[in-house]
């Protein structure tokens, strides 16, 4: 997994993949990834976010620059944020997962069925948490087995999961919204620590764990290696198949956690939860600076990417902008954010 895990990346992407990896080759140490060019890359995002906050403060004044509003943004970001952190691992490992929204929906439905809720009330509300995470992990396992051992292209395998998981969710729920009535569950997720709700804290916790996992552990280093050059990783003694499998399970677990957050927020489980989360998550990850071809990933970038998206939505809502205008501007800002980020990346690479 050492030096030359570079040029061959993947035949899919040309320019961006061929450009940065040489610098990645030398930084097999995750420390360098954080201290060196990582900061440069994130700087673009921070600038974009700051500009956005500036616009928000200028147009909406204290309605934007307000603690309540900051919490509103974080609450909105929490579920998709957790999914995006899981997605960062899969994409860094050279994969993609289109089924996250569907897995989230299935988890939310499965853990709010009458049977699960009865059990949660009789035994302990943690049953629901176990159910959601287990369903997520199970879907991730199916994805992972198909991709790693079945040789199915990630795009296709997860596309199939996208269709079937939501279908199964619809069958289980009979296409109805399932209302949650488990006091313990509500009490836990509705609780606040220093004015911050549990889902937001969970998001922060998942982000920290994700960062440590990617930057400070063998698991993280292997993920980067597998994504950069699977063949070299295999020669270096990494069990590429098993590692790929684990990445999808990890993302499935993240979907389960996000499902719990959404259940707590809406007090319902529904087959319509998590619509288009796959696109939001992939966009946030790519904006964050993770290479779509794999071999480079950044949790800090992903978190910033998610925050940019949600802050954008918030600023639009505050300013009462029309729907079509918002869509147009969103697209433009995505492009600007990526361009900024690339520019900073190049500058810090050459220095």
């Amino acid at each position: 997994m050492t030096e030359s895990s570079t040029g061959v990346a993947a035949p899919l992407t040309k320019a961006p993949a061929a450009d940065p990896p040489p610098s990645r080759g030398r930084s097999t140490s995750p420390l360098a990834a954080l201290t060196g060019s990582g900061v440069g890359r994130n700087l673009g995002l921070v600038v974009a976010l700051l500009i956005l906050c500036g616009v928000g403060a200028a147009t909406a004044g204290e309605r934007f620059a307000d603690l309540d509003n900051a919490l509103t943004i974080l609450r909105l970001a929490a579920a998709v944020g957790v999914v995006s952190i899981g997605m960062t691992f899969v994409i860094t490992g050279g994969g993609i997962d289109l089924s996250v929204g569907a897995i989230l929906a299935l988890s939310s439905v499965w853990c709010t069925t009458v049977a699960t809720q009865t059990m949660a009330n009789d035994v302990h509300w943690v049953t629901m948490v176990i159910a959601a995470v287990a369903v997520g992990a199970g879907c991730g396992l199916v994805n992972g087995v198909l991709i790693a051992y079945g040789g199915v292209v990630p795009f296709i395998a997860t596309l199939a999961m996208l269709a079937s998981a939501r279908g199964l969710a619809e069958i289980l729920s009979n296409r109805r919204t399932q209302i949650v009535d488990v006091p313990g569950f509500d009490a836990f997720f509705g609780a606040e620590v220093l004015g911050v709700e549990v889902p937001v804290l969970l998001f922060v916790l998942v982000a920290i764990i994700g960062w440590v996992l990617l930057n400070r552990t063998t698991f993280g280093r292997r993920t980067v290696a597998v994504g950069g050059n699977p063949e070299a990783a295999r020669l270096a003694g990494i069990n590429v198949k098993r590692h790929t499998l684990m990445l999808y399970v990890l993302l499935g677990v993240c979907c389960g956690i996000a499902a719990l957050m959404l259940i707590a927020r809406t007090s319902t489980g529904s087959s319509t939860h998590g619509m288009l989360y796959e696109l939001d998550a992939i966009a946030a990850v790519v904006i964050g600076g993770t290479l779509l071809a794999g071999g480079r990933g950044t949790i800090v970038g992903t978190v910033l990417g998610v925050l940019i998206f949600t802050t954008l939505t918030n600023v639009f809502t505050l300013n009462n902008r029309s729907i079509s205008e918002q869509a147009l501007l969103k697209g433009a800002i995505i492009v600007v954010a990526v361009l900024l980020q690339q520019r900073f990346a190049r500058r810090s690479d050459s220095s």
């Binding site: 309605r63 307000d66 309540d68 509003n69 509103t72 943004i73 609450r75 909105l76 579920a79 998709v80 619809e170 729920s173 296409r175 109805r176 919204t177 209302i179 959404l262 927020r265 809406t266 007090s267 319902t268 529904s270 087959s271 319509t272 939860h273 619509m275 288009l276 949600t310 939505t313 918030n314 639009f316 809502t317 505050l318 009462n320 902008r321 029309s322 729907i323 918002q326």
Partner: protein, 352 residues
């Protein structure tokens, strides 16, 4: 206590009547007829006068699902038209979204802003209930439109169409048209099956048909879009070679349904629409196709909600009622529109 309420009620009536006379004589500062003439109250005399007089400025937060079909687009548009017609209403419209997570965050923003009232057409009534409760607890009246919350405390006023009644109206019309034909084949093209409103419509339809000994032989579900309607209808026509009547829940998807019928070259049946779009009504008026009637589901519900929100925030009552307060629930009627009465409804219909 009771006497004071009664006295207040009588005073309100007297005041209303008095102002009504004043309002009829002198014009109010607010020109409600600007924009869409059809969005004024039912009886012009009562609508003008006291209640339309300009009061304190009211900030209303508005959130609805994505305008991905004509009916839903008309919801936001007509709300905007009504808000614009009042000089004392500031409407904040949040981005239309089909994602409950985002819609919740929009309501949170309204709460942070301390708006005077929130008009909410939730993507999923149950999912938006907790945040609506929060708004109510924060002292902001929530006006729930179309898709109901699952807790009555989550809304001050609920304005909704009559989904069950729509099904009943459609069923009764088909019964009367197919009178005496016990073997008739009736088909149904539903909207989004997961929504309680679709389930209510289907229930009403089945029960009305049962009254005259008919039943739904073939049922398919679409998704309120033209594309979905086309897909569902072409499957249905393939599955049932001989049909006598079809009820299609929604005129937006009806554009696709009609396209599929055209493509299949079928005309042995008649079609009843739903929701009441302008182009469906024009087609009924022309009488040249299979579409013979449609059942109205008013797309002006949110416009009504804006008016009600303004009344609530300004501590006013409804001019046509004796009550001191705005009522808790307003349910709209679902009439059948045929060639005979289409002119009455064409003006308030939405374009799909």
């Amino acid at each position: 206590m009771r006497t004071t309420t009664a006295l207040r009620g009588r005073l309100a009536v007297a005041a209303t009547a008095g102002l009504l006379v004043v309002g009829l004589a002198a014009c109010t500062g607010n020109d409600t007829s600007s924009g869409n003439d059809n969005l004024r109250g039912g009886t012009d005399g009562a609508a003008e006068g006291s209640n339309d007089e300009e009061g304190d400025t009211v900030v209303i937060g508005f959130s609805a699902p994505a305008a991905d079909h004509g009916w839903m687009a008309s919801i936001t548009e007509s709300a905007q038209v009504v808000a614009d017609s009042y000089g004392d209403v500031e409407l904040r419209i949040a981005e239309g979204t089909n994602e409950v997570n985002l819609q919740i965050s929009q309501v949170e923003t309204f709460i942070n802003d301390g708006v005077d009232a929130i008009v909410l057409l939730p993507f999923d009534g149950a999912a938006l209930t907790p945040i609506a409760l929060e708004a109510m607890e924060a002292g902001i009246p929530v006006i729930n439109v179309d898709r109901e919350f699952n807790d009555p405390n989550a809304a001050r006023v609920t304005i909704l169409g009559d989904n069950y009644g729509m099904g009943v109206s459609a069923g009764q019309y088909i019964c009367s048209e197919l009178e005496g034909r016990a073997d008739a084949v009736v088909a149904e093209i539903a909207g989004i099956d997961s929504l309680p409103l679709t389930q209510d419509r289907s229930e009403g339809f089945a029960e009305a048909l049962a009254e005259c000994g008919l039943e739904v032989s073939n049922r398919v579900a679409a998704d309120f879009t033209v594309e979905g309607g086309e897909r569902a209808a072409s499957n249905l026509l393939q599955a049932a070679p001989e049909i006598d009547a079809i009820w299609n829940h929604d005129d937006d998807q009806g554009v696709g349904v009609l396209a599929a019928i055209e493509n299949a070259g079928r005309d042995e049946f008649f079609l009843v629409g739903g929701a009441g779009s302008a182009n469906a009504m024009r087609s009924i008026q022309a009488g040249d196709g299979v579409l013979r009637a449609t059942v109205v589901y008013p797309s002006t519900q949110a416009a009504d909600a804006i008016r009600v929100a303004r009344l609530l925030a300004q501590d006013k009552a409804m001019a046509d009622l004796v009550e001191v307060e705005v009522p808790r629930q307003i349910q709209l009627f679902a009439p059948v529109v045929t060639a005979d009465n289409v002119e009455l409804y064409l003006d308030t219909a939405f374009e799909s």
